[in-house]
Amino acid sequence: MRSTDGEGGLIALLADGTIAFGFDTPQLAWGWRRSAGAPVAGTTVEEAWEVDSDAGVTVVPGVAPDRVDQR
């Protein structure tokens, strides 16, 4: 996504479930939702959505490091 002024942003999702989004434009409307606590979805979810004016890059980690070690 990019404004006509050349500013913009990016959303990204990695295969390990990591969520990342960032922007350097005045605002970004974003949201995410993912299941939590059960491999079968529809039970517990974590989520957020916002019209954000705080430019930067935000990362919501996916698989926890200790879980990675266990695999």
């Binding site: 404004s3 006509t4 990016l10 989004f21 350097d24 974003w30 957020a48 990362v59």
Partner: protein
């Protein structure tokens, strides 16, 4: 020991955006409402065991139907001629792409892009050729809302060049670990008819990295002024870092691998 508050393989994820740029304060609640509705639409697909491609299309179609907030589908920004011309694209994790540009007869341009992906040997189709694939063509005037027409009248009275821009998009990871992304936009208010932006261009708007399992810029904390919303501050472990440098790490590439260009 299980960590029920953390993501694990097999748990679906949906990430969406409803546009970047200047969003008027009095419209922010409409954006928030539309974002929640899009998350509901897309995550319902994932929760039912649907594919990532189906989920991103559902989420983006929800935003295309939203007439109060997003610049896509119904309520899109109008061209200099006062018409609607929509662009959209869908990409799966294997790099297969379907995209359309300058289409005016589709209620859901993202679903038309999906038809290009699934039912054509092509990647990007434009104008009348793309519109011919629409199974349920609509009157283009139905995509114009009172608000989008009023914005166009104001632009025509005052502006001398195209202005504003916003694209809707979604990325999803389904239960089987498949990734997909989709984008949709009405373009720029006052754009010349026939103008195509970057939203439907593979590798520009929808894209993927070859090192997606390891390229995440994770771990640093935002240096100052961090304001994570209450919703995730209490429920997840978001990490934030300063703007700019890390975005360059997400090098995108989009060459077709499963379909010929």
């Amino acid at each position: 020991m299980e960590r029920p508050d953390r993501y694990a393989p097999g748990m679906p994820v949906l990430l969406i955006h409803g546009g970047a740029g200047r969003i008027a304060p009095h419209r922010r609640d409409a954006y928030r409402h539309g974002l929640a509705a899009a998350l509901d639409a897309g995550f319902a697909v994932l929760s039912g065991g649907g594919s990532a491609v189906d989920a991103v299309c559902a989420a983006v179609a929800s935003m295309e139907d939203d007439t109060a907030a997003f610049n896509a589908g119904t309520g899109s920004a109008l061209t200099a001629s006062g018409t609607v011309e929509c662009d959209a694209a869908v990409m799966d994790g294997a790099g297969r792409v379907g995209a359309v540009a300058c289409v005016s007869n589709a209620r859901h341009p993202v679903q038309l892009a999906r038809r290009v992906l699934d039912a054509s040997p092509h990647v990007l189709m434009v104008g009348s050729g793309a519109e011919a694939l629409e199974p349920e063509p609509i009157d283009p005037k139905t995509l114009i809302t009172p608000a989008s027409h009023a914005a166009w009248r104001r632009w025509r009275a005052q502006a001398t060049k195209p202005e504003g821009s916003a694209t809707c998009g979604a990325v999803a990871l389904d239960r089987d670990g498949r990734l997909a992304a989709a984008t949709s936009t009405g373009g720029v208010l006052g754009q010349a008819p026939g103008r195509v932006g970057d939203a439907p261009i593979p590798g520009r708007a929808p894209g993927r990295t070859r090192a997606s399992r390891s390229a995440a810029p994770v771990g640093a904390k935002r240096s100052s002024g961090a304001r994570p919303p209450e919703a995730w501050r209490s429920r997840s472990s978001a990490a934030t870092i300063p703007a700019a440098p890390s975005t360059t790490a997400w090098r995108r590439c989009g060459p077709q691998t499963a379909k010929g260009a």
